[in-house]
C-alpha cells in the first residue's frame, strides 16, 4: 500500500491501485433508477462478486441544519418535511416534539391522539412505497400498483386534513395545525377496514413466491452485533433480532395508550426485513384502529406563545420514524432562533451498514440491498 499514486477509487483498508485479472470497478448511480434518488455506489468486483463498496452521497445536500440557525423555531418546521419526503408527517412530529420538550410545553391529549393516527398512516404509506419500489427493483412488477392504490387513499386523507399530500406540515409546535375535518374518522375507518386484506394480497404475491424468496433469503445479512455497532435502527435493526422500538422504549405522542407488538426477525436478511415491515403495517393498522375509536375532545393546541423563546439549554428527542430513529438535537441560546439543530437521520446511519451487507454478494443483489435498507436521499444528504 506504500507510495500509492493517485487513486481513483477509495476503499478503506483495501489496495485498489492493483486490480487482479478478474477485478473491476464499476459505478452505479447517481442516475441509476434502483438507487432511489441520487445515491452513487462504487463497486469493487471480482468477476460478478462484490468485494468492496463505497457510497458517495451529498448530491442532495441543502444545508438544512444551517438553514435552521437562520429561521425561527416555527419557520423551520416546514423544512423538516423535505428531508424524508415520503414520510413528512413523521419528520414534523419529531421536530415539533423536540421543540416542545425544549419549551417544556404540554400537548393536549386530542392533539396527541390525532398525531399518532396521522403518523401511523404515514408509516403505512412509507412502507407501501418501500414495498412497491423494492419489489420493482427485484423484478416483481405487480406490487407497486397495489401499493400505490392504498397509498393514494392515505394521501387523500392527508390532503383533506391539511391540503398537502407530500410535504404536509401537518403539525404545529404545541399541537395541531388544524382541527380534523368532518368525516375524518369515517375516512380512516374505511381505509383501515379492509387494509389487512390488502396486506394479504401483497403477501400472496411475494411471501411464498419462489423467485422473491430466492432473491431475498440470505441476502444482505446483518448480525445483531454488527447492527448495534453500526448504529442501525428501525426495521433493519429489528430484522436482525433486536426487539427495540422507540415507541415502546421511550413512548411519545399517545403510544403508551395502545397495544401493539414489535415484530422481529431472526436472520437479519432481506427476506426478514420484508417480513418485519409487512407486520409493522399490520401493527400500525392496529394502533390506528384503537386510536380512531377514542379521540379525546378538547383543545388542539397547548399553551405556546407566538414568539417562542426557549430558555437556554439543549434537548435530544427522537421518534421511531418509518426508517428508524429520527432524532433532533436542538441547542437554544434563549433567542427566537435555534442556536444549533442537529438532525440524526436514520437513512444516513443505516446506509453506513451497506458495505457490511453487500460484501460477498452479486451485482444483482446490490439492488436488493439498497432497496431493503429503505433510504431516502433527501434525508441522507439533508
Amino acid at each position: 500500500m506504500a507510495e500509492t499514486p493517485t487513486r481513483h477509487v477509495h476503499f478503506p483498508g483495501m489496495d485498489t491501485t492493483v486490480l487482479g485479472a478478474d477485478e473491476i470497478i464499476i459505478n452505479m448511480g447517481p442516475q441509476h433508477p434502483s438507487t432511489h434518488g441520487v445515491l452513487r455506489v462504487k463497486l469493487h468486483l471480482d468477476g460478478e462478486k462484490v468485494i468492496g463498496s463505497e457510497c458517495i452521497i451529498g448530491y442532495l445536500h441543502r444545508g438544512v441544519e444551517k438553514i435552521a440557525e437562520h429561521r425561527s423555531y416555527q419557520q423551520f418546521a416546514p423544512y423538516v418535511d423535505r428531508m424524508d419526503y415520503v414520510a413528512a408527517v413523521s419528520n414534523g412530529l419529531g421536530y415539533c416534539e423536540a421543540v416542545e420538550k425544549l419549551l417544556e410545553v404540554e400537548v393536549p391529549p386530542r392533539a396527541k391522539v390525532v398525531r399518532t393516527i396521522l403518523t401511523e398512516l404515514q408509516r403505512i404509506a412509507s412502507h407501501l412505497l418501500w414495498l412497491g419500489t423494492h419489489a420493482l427493483d427485484i423484478g416483481a412488477l405487480t406490487p407497486i400498483f397495489y401499493c400505490f392504490r392504498e397509498r393514494e387513499e392515505i394521501l387523500k386523507i392527508f390532503e383533506k386534513y391539511c391540503g398537502a399530500r407530500l410535504t404536509t406540515h401537518a403539525f404545529r409546535i404545541g399541537g395541531l395545525q388544524y382541527e380534523v375535518y368532518d368525516g375524518f374518522e369515517e375516512d380512516v375507518k374505511r381505509f383501515l377496514a379492509d387494509f389487512d386484506r390488502k396486506i394479504d394480497e401483497y403477501e400472496a404475491l411475494l411471501t411464498t413466491n419462489r423467485i422473491w424468496v430466492e432473491r431475498t433469503k440470505g441476502i444482505g445479512v446483518l448480525s445483531a452485533q454488527d447492527a448495534i455497532a453500526l448504529g442501525v435502527t428501525g426495521p433493519v435493526l429489528r430484522a436482525s433480532g433486536v426487539k427495540w422500538d422507540i415507541r415502546k422504549a421511550f413512548p411519545y405522542a399517545a403510544y403508551d395508550r395502545y397495544d401493539f407488538e414489535i415484530p422481529v426477525g431472526s436472520h437479519g436478511d432481506t427476506y426478514d426485513r420484508y417480513l418485519v415491515r409487512m407486520e409493522e403495517m399490520r401493527q400500525s393498522r392496529r394502533i390506528c384502529l384503537q386510536a380512531i375509536e377514542d379521540i379525546p375532545s378538547g383543545p388542539i393546541l397547548g399553551k405556546v406563545g407566538k414568539v417562542m423563546k426557549p430558555a437556554p439549554g439543549e434537548v435530544y428527542h427522537s421518534i421511531e420514524a418509518p426508517k428508524g430513529e429520527l432524532g433532533y438535537y436542538i441547542v437554544s441560546d434563549g433567542t427566537t432562533q435555534p442556536y444549533r439543530v442537529r438532525i440524526r437521520p436514520p437513512s444516513f446511519i443505516n446506509l453506513q451498514a451497506f458495505d457490511t451487507m453487500v460484501r460477498g454478494h452479486l451485482v444483482a443483489d446490490v439492488v436488493a440491498i439498497i432497496g431493503t435498507i429503505d433510504i431516502v436521499l433527501g434525508e441522507v444528504d439533508r
Binding site: 434563549g334 433567542t335 427566537t336
Partner: protein, 217 residues
C-alpha cells in the same frame, strides 16, 4: 477564521456583558432577538428552570471515581443526563461507557460551534444503552487546532458521523480510518456549519469550475 462576534450569546451558562451584537451577520435578519441580546442577563424568570441542574447519581459517581478530574461537569438539562469530559481522555471514557456502563450504541455524534469560547467547538456524543434503556450525552470542548480522538474503534457508527463532523466543522479526528468530506465535494473550501461561515457563502471558485455557473444562489 477569527472570533467574529455573532449576535447571539455564545455561552448560556454565564451570560457576560460582552456578548453584544457588534457585527451583524451579513444575511438573514434576526429582528426578534435583538432586545434580548442587549441585556447581559436577559429573561430572568426563565433562567432558574433552564439552568442545567447538577446531576449526581450512581452512574456519575462511578464515572467520577474512575476518571476523577476528567469528568468536568455532570448536569441534567430537560431531564437528560450530560457529562462534560476532558477531550484528551474522551477515548478512554467512551470505552468505559461502552464496556462497563453498557452504552452499546452510538446514537449520534456532532458538534456545536461557539466561536467566542477559548475552545470553540463542543463535541457532542449521544449514547444509548439497550440493557438499561437509558441515554447519556458526552460533551467535550475542542479547540480549533485540537485533534480529538476518533471514536470509530469504539463504535463503528462513528465513522460517517465523524466524517460529517469534519466536513461541516473542520474538526480533525485523530486515528480516524478514512477522514474525508462526506456530504460536500472533496475539493470544497470551508466548513459550512461554523458560525463564521455565512448562510449565503459558498465556494464560488468550485461552483464556477465544476458547475459552469457563476453562482449557486
Amino acid at each position: 477564521m477569527a472570533d467574529e462576534p455573532t449576535p447571539k450569546q455564545p455561552e448560556q451558562r454565564q451570560p457576560t456583558p460582552e456578548g453584544q451584537p457588534g457585527a451583524h451577520e451579513t444575511s438573514a435578519p434576526k429582528p426578534a432577538e435583538k432586545p434580548a441580546a442587549e441585556k447581559p442577563a436577559p429573561p430572568k424568570k426563565d433562567a432558574p428552570a433552564a439552568w442545567p441542574k447538577p446531576l449526581d447519581n450512581e452512574m456519575v459517581r462511578r464515572f467520577r471515581r474512575r476518571f476523577g478530574d476528567a469528568i468536568l461537569e455532570a448536569v441534567e438539562d430537560r431531564k437528560q443526563a450530560i457529562l462534560v469530559v476532558a477531550v484528551d481522555r474522551l477515548r478512554e471514557i467512551a470505552e468505559y461507557a461502552r464496556e462497563e456502563e453498557q452504552f452499546d450504541m452510538l446514537t449520534d455524534l456532532t458538534a456545536v460551534d461557539w466561536p467566542k469560547r477559548e475552545k470553540r467547538f463542543d463535541l457532542v456524543v449521544n449514547l444509548y444503552s439497550f440493557p438499561r434503556n437509558e441515554r447519556l450525552r458526552l460533551k467535550a470542548a475542542v479547540g480549533e487546532q485540537d485533534r480529538p480522538p476518533s471514536l470509530t474503534p469504539v463504535w463503528a457508527a462513528a465513522n460517517w458521523l465523524e466524517r460529517e463532523c469534519f466536513d461541516m466543522f473542520g474538526i480533525r479526528f485523530e486515528g480516524h480510518p478514512d477522514l474525508r468530506r462526506i456530504l460536500l465535494p472533496e475539493e470544497w473550501v470551508g466548513h459550512p456549519l461554523r458560525k463564521d461561515y455565512d448562510i449565503l457563502q459558498q465556494d464560488t471558485a468550485w461552483v464556477r469550475e465544476n458547475l459552469g455557473i457563476e453562482s449557486g444562489q
